[in-house]
């Protein structure tokens, strides 16, 4: 092959040359070349090896489906050479070779093909004994390209897009559709996987200059229309509900939402099946036309064209127009049409052999090209008859025997397709609302008819999107069948390939059916037809025809396999794209950072786990924070708690219904512990409810429950229609807990509020000013110390923190993190919802019976709890201690409690308490083990067991003296 003289409309830039390396050899090409076109123009004929037999292969389609011409480009495997633009400095190797492309050692496998029948892959695994052997061998032999685990992470954007009408395909019908829709006022996006718009209008010319000019005009009108956006090098990779189409480019995936979608995706030209139809030099007619008109590459010097439609004749004319000899047009049909192309071929004196087929290609002497085509007459349908055999010398064969609709997206959209016998093609029968089809995919093949079909679809799609009225456009029927019903020639020696991805031959299908795999889905999985990288775009239709004939059915009865997204491989980097992981940070985040906070996720929040002190271990830091709270004063950010308000005349009634305790009798200025259950009686949240006014409550939820509880309460209030409203102030308030025996001293210096025990008793709620900031203060004791929860508007949170830290400095105040708080509350035996409870825990299990007010008229979960109360307990949460001085491995949360060799519970919380002087914890145990003083055994991960003793809680300050004035 060689570069042709300049061709009108060619994509290459001849003014520049770029160099690249393929299989260790240097080549040159032009910007605008694809890898394949540059290689062919440079004289390379073999571009790859086949998957199974490692046969030499080259161009088949030049349409993004040449899976036997895939290359490795640095860390990128399986780059499709037929369409990937050539860039300067590319270093490429063919995939799937052992020892390089020319001397691929695995090509020996072809000689053993008779031992590799269809389904051998599955059959080889029958033997359990040989399984490992086969597995190793298959893993070594199979797979295309190499994954480079050191490849850099590519951060790609993900993007949304919107349009009124999305047109998929920029061929003649797509462009006509786009113009019709835009002329009605719709905002139109046209996508095309090729580097330039125009589709087949740019290359399927039949050397017809008028047609070329007409098409150029169409393209220019579309490109210049103010309402038409054309996106090239963009693949519509799938169809999702409500016209959501992922549009994939090399760099970004755009999720396009369209009001209407027009599928003008064209059709895949289909290969003929004959012996050695895979040799380099044998290609689809459209591939040759692409090479000529896009890349100005001569596909061969002397061609034989195997035709069954007018497209083959047009291809022959294109070859001749560019100086390529056409030795013969071999037509499978006995009669040809009287169209312009056929007439022109006759007038040019090109030999036409009717009612004939190519039964085999004669390989060149090196086996890596074509030397001749063996042409024989055929009976109908296409049984070669031995008489009249003729060998026509050539170095290339074009196949133009028919088309299969590129209907993948239509199938995904839910289109019902039917097999149209007059076209020998599946066409849309019933389209979903808002989805339209035109052009070849719609069974319309002639250029003029495609324009009309595009206008019809474009107008209708615009009307569906709310622009104009659908105009009636009459689309003429095809005058000839564009596709042959049986372009398949049997050969006793085989190697007549149906699927070039998987090296499947005609006999493989016959054998599969013989073995019982006689429907299309079974056939696919057993033979692997259509399961290669091209996903059957050039094999499924022929496979379907073969199966139909073998089982005596029509194609419509055989049906097609399921088309699933994605239609085309999408790089993982695009699928991953930019990730969004929302994080909530309290208004004190920067303060914690400055103090050396070690962060931990708490649901969607980031919270300080502990504060790093120089030269201290994590454990020492945590124990230090605990000691500060127990002996002096500490401060923790509790701004992550859910902070809700319920306001209105029936606010108390609302709380009565959602919490298990009683709140109607809660005094103004007081708080009460609150536990929430779901309707099955399972504990789902807890917090503190405070009463600010007769009709106004301020209450907290757990950190993880903040958003979900608000949603649930909103739902309930919508159902109940009580005269009250819920306000979510979680993010609007900053909150800290100032705790420890010296907390009152610290706070006293910042507020005029009376902090005496009588004026501000335990569980009281006050509104006061702290450091000049309006605040809500609650005297609560989650960590078992005298303490205040202080809530202020979020934008003043940092100021509050700064003031408290300054005031606490003289008292040795330390910030403490989540881990210290966990230990402090454990010492008090206070549970954490979802740590010391799970999705089955009811209030009885965790000793919250005291909070249950079963005599209330109603609360969520009450009915279930009445039933549960009558049933024997299955588990009980107890405190336990390890032996004093225990120095072995400390159990972890979720380690099992073992009793008499059986699972009898699990640890929910455990830590060493300096205040207690022992390792303490809580665990669910069987009720019979729950008695204080019982010995239990906890199994470690290594299987050894640690003895423990059930203990009363609280572990520390059981009489709560530290929260009373006397202390």
């Amino acid at each position: 092959m060689k570069r042709l003289p300049p061709v009108a409309g060619e994509w290459i830039d001849r003014t520049r040359e770029i160099s690249f390396v393929f299989e260790g050899k240097s080549y040159r090409g032009h910007p605008g070349d694809s890898i394949s076109s540059a290689l062919l123009a440079s004289g390379a004929s073999m571009l790859g090896r086949s998957f199974k037999y490692h046969r030499p292969r080259s161009v088949l389609s030049m349409a993004n489906h040449d899976i036997n011409a895939m290359v490795q480009w640095a860390e990128r495997p399986n780059v499709r050479a037929d369409v990937t633009p050539l860039t300067d400095g590319m270093a490429l190797t063919a995939v799937n070779t052992f020892g390089g492309l020319r001397a691929d050692k695995a090509s020996i496998l072809g000689a053993f093909s008779r031992f590799l029948p269809v389904g051998f892959y599955y059959k080889s695994f029958y033997s359990k004994k040989l399984f490992p052997l086969w597995e190793r061998m298959f893993r070594r032999l199979t797979g295309l390209g190499k994954v480079d685990f050191t490849a850099p992470h590519l951060c790609t954007a993900k993007c949304y897009g919107f349009c009124d009408v999305l047109v998929i395909g920029s061929g003649p019908s797509g462009l006509a559709a786009a113009l019709a829709a835009a002329d009605q006022g719709a905002d139109v996006v046209v996508v095309d996987e090729n580097a330039r718009a125009g589709g087949s209008g740019g290359y399927a010319r039949g050397a017809d200059e008028v047609l070329a000019a007409t098409h150029n005009d169409l393209l220019q009108r579309a490109e210049s229309h103010s309402l038409v956006r054309i996106m090239t090098s963009t693949c519509a990779a799938g169809y999702y509900t409500d016209h959501w189409i992922p549009l994939v480019t090399a760099d970004v995936m755009t999720k396009m939402r369209a009001r209407s979608v027009i599928v003008a995706s064209g059709a895949y030209e289909q290969p003929a099946v004959f012996r050695y139809n895979d040799l380099p030099g044998i290609m689809l007619a459209s591939a040759a036309q692409r090479l000529i008109y896009r890349y100005a590459v001569s596909p061969m010097r002397r061609a034989v064209v195997l035709a069954a439609n007018a497209d083959g004749y047009r291809a022959a004319l294109d070859l001749v127009a560019h100086g390529i000899e056409v030795a013969a047009v071999v037509d499978l049909r006995s009669v040809i049409g009287d169209g312009e192309a056929e007439t022109a071929v006759i007038h040019q004196g090109i030999r036409i052999v009717l009612n004939a087929c190519i039964t085999e290609a004669v390989p060149a002497s090196d086996g890596k090209g074509v030397a001749a085509a063996v042409v024989v007459p055929v009976t109908q349908p296409n049984e070669a008859i031995g008489l009249g055999r003729e060998q026509i010398p050539c170095d290339g064969i074009l196949m133009s025997v028919g088309w299969a609709p590129a209907g993948n997206l239509l199938y995904q959209a839910g289109t019902r397709m039917r097999y149209e016998k007059s076209l020998e093609q599946f066409v849309p029968d019933v389209l979903p609302a808002g989805v339209f089809a035109c052009g070849r995919v719609n069974g319309v093949h002639s250029y003029a008819a495609r324009l009309l079909d595009g206008q019809r679809a474009g107008s209708a799609a615009a009307a569906h999107a709310g622009f104009g009225i659908a105009m009636g456009v009459a689309v003429p029927n095809e005058t000839e069948c564009p596709t042959h019903s049986w372009p398949i020639i049997a050969h006793p020696k085989g190697k007549n390939f149906v699927d070039f991805d998987e090296d499947l031959q005609l006999k493989d299908f016959e054998n599969a059916v013989q073995e019982g795999f006689d429907n299309i889905e079974l056939m696919k999985r057993f033979s692997t037809v259509g399961m290669g990288p091209s996903q059957g775009k050039h094999s499924n239709m022929n496979a379907l025809r073969i199966l139909a004939r073998l089982v005596g059915k029509e194609p419509q009865q055989v049906g097609t396999t399921t088309a699933r997204p994605f239609f085309h491989p999408v790089p993982m980097s695009l699928l991953g794209g930019r990730g969004f992981t929302p994080e909530r940070r309290t208004p004190l985040h920067s303060r914690h950072d400055a103090l050396g906070a070690q962060w931990m996720p708490a649901g969607v929040w980031q919270r300080p786990e502990y504060y790093q002190v120089a030269d201290k271990s994590r454990s020492d830091c945590i124990q230090g924070e605990v000691a500060a709270v127990r002996n002096g004063v500490g401060i923790i950010d509790v701004g992550t708690l859910g902070k809700l308000e319920v306001i209105g005349p029936q606010a108390a009634e609302f709380l009565e219904r959602v919490y298990i305790s009683r709140y109607a009798n809660l005094k103004l200025g007081m708080t009460r512990y609150a536990v929430m259950c779901d309707e099955t009686g399972v504990v789902i949240d807890d917090g503190v409810v405070g009463r600010l006014a007769e009709d106004h409550f301020y209450f907290t939820t757990t950190t993880s429950g903040a958003a979900t509880i608000y949603r649930e309460l909103s739902r309930l209030n919508t159902l109940w229609q009580l005269d009250c409203g819920i306000v979510n102030h979680t993010g609007a308030f900053a909150a800290v807990n100032l705790a420890g025996p010296r907390s009152r001293e610290v706070l006293a210096g910042l507020t005029d509020a009376d902090l005496s025990a009588s004026a501000f008793p335990y569980l009281a709620l006050r509104e006061a000013s702290v450091a000049g900031i309006p605040a809500r203060l609650m005297r609560v004791g989650f960590v078992g110390e005298w303490g205040y929860e202080i809530h202020v508007p979020a934008n003043q949170g940092a100021a509050l923190w700064d003031a408290l830290m300054q005031a606490g400095g003289g008292h040795g105040m330390r910030p403490f993190g989540v881990e210290a708080q966990r230990l402090l509350r454990l010492e008090k035996g206070h549970i954490i919802i979802s740590q010391d409870t799970d999705g089955l825990t009811n209030p009885f299990d965790v000793g919250l019976d005291w909070a249950l007010k079963m005599d209330k008229p109603f609360f969520v979960g009450q009915r279930s709890l009445r039933v549960i109360a009558q049933q024997p307990r299955k588990q009980k949460l107890v405190g336990f201690v390890l032996e004093p001085g225990y120095a072995g491995t400390v159990p972890l949360e979720c380690h099992l409690v073992i009793h008499q060799g059986e699972m009898a519970g699990r640890v929910t919380s455990i830590a060493f308490s300096a205040a207690v002087g022992q390792t303490i914890g809580m665990a669910f145990v069987a009720p019979e083990l729950a008695e204080v003083g019982n010995a239990i055994s906890i199994r470690l991960s290594d299987g050894s067991q640690v003895p423990a003793t059930v203990t009363r809680t609280p572990f520390f300050d059981p009489d709560n003296l530290k929260q009373k004035e006397a202390v």
């Binding site: 949304y160 909530r584 306001i647 993010g731 609007a732 934008n795 100021a799």
Partner: protein, 217 residues
């Protein structure tokens, strides 16, 4: 003022501080960022993001709120998910059937927050992170973070959209209040830093970034 320790802080104060901003003079309201460096205008032309969290705002919800606000002389939007400009600047937004956001002069917002609530009126403390997004490529930024077609706001200028952006619930409207037409955005303040960092990161990829008020007005 001591810019290192202002009393009232934006939810994204730490992110602003890290870029050495030029602060406005101290006043009753929190300080605002006037600018960052000499390139604010360039960034604003591409994609500019300004922090407007300092603007005073107030909220209320409940069945009596619309009448309550109207009685206070505010131009209450009649339709859910719409907004009106206040006469002295600022805006009143209807975030649903019965929820409202008022942003503007402190005299208005303070009055709203301090007036005794009426029946069916539940005050909402608004501590939002609030940004303005402007620039020629702002739509690209929006398309990378949100699946709403914001072009529809051009045609319906009184409309606002409550949606999810980069995983965060936001309220968005389009305004020509400033010299540069821009999108205004509000989100829960605790998501502010995350959303600011996310938007600024993408804006920088698009040739823009954070800007101060001077580049906006």
């Amino acid at each position: 003022m001591n810019v290192n320790a202002p009393v009232l802080l934006s939810p994204v104060h730490a992110a602003l501080l890290a870029r050495n901003p030029v602060w406005s003079e101290a006043g009753v309201t929190p300080p605002a960022v006037l600018g960052f460096d000499g390139n604010d205008a360039q960034r604003a032309a591409a994609v500019g993001i300004a922090d407007l969290s300092h603007l005073p705002r107030a909220g209320a919800k409940g069945p009596g709120t619309a009448d309550w606000l109207a009685a206070m002389g505010l131009p209450v939007p009649l339709q859910p998910n719409s907004w009106n400009q206040l006469p002295d600047g600022g805006l009143i937004a209807r975030l649903g059937l019965t929820e409202f956001l008022v942003e503007g002069d402190a005299s208005i917002t303070d009055t709203l927050m301090q007036t005794d609530r009426a029946a069916g009126v539940y005050p909402v403390l608004r501590q939002d992170a609030s940004f303005a997004l402007c620039g020629a490529r702002v739509n690209e930024l929006l398309l990378q973070t949100c699946n709403v077609d914001f072009r529809t706001l051009d045609a319906e200028p009184s409309k606002l959209i409550l949606t999810s952006m980069a995983g965060v619930g936001v309220t968005i409207l389009y305004t020509r209040t400033f010299t540069h037409p821009c999108y205004r955005l509000w989100c829960d303040g605790t998501y502010g830093l995350y959303l600011w960092d996310t938007l600024v990161g993408i804006a920088e990829e698009l040739g823009g970034g954070c800007i101060g008020l001077n580049a906006l007005r």
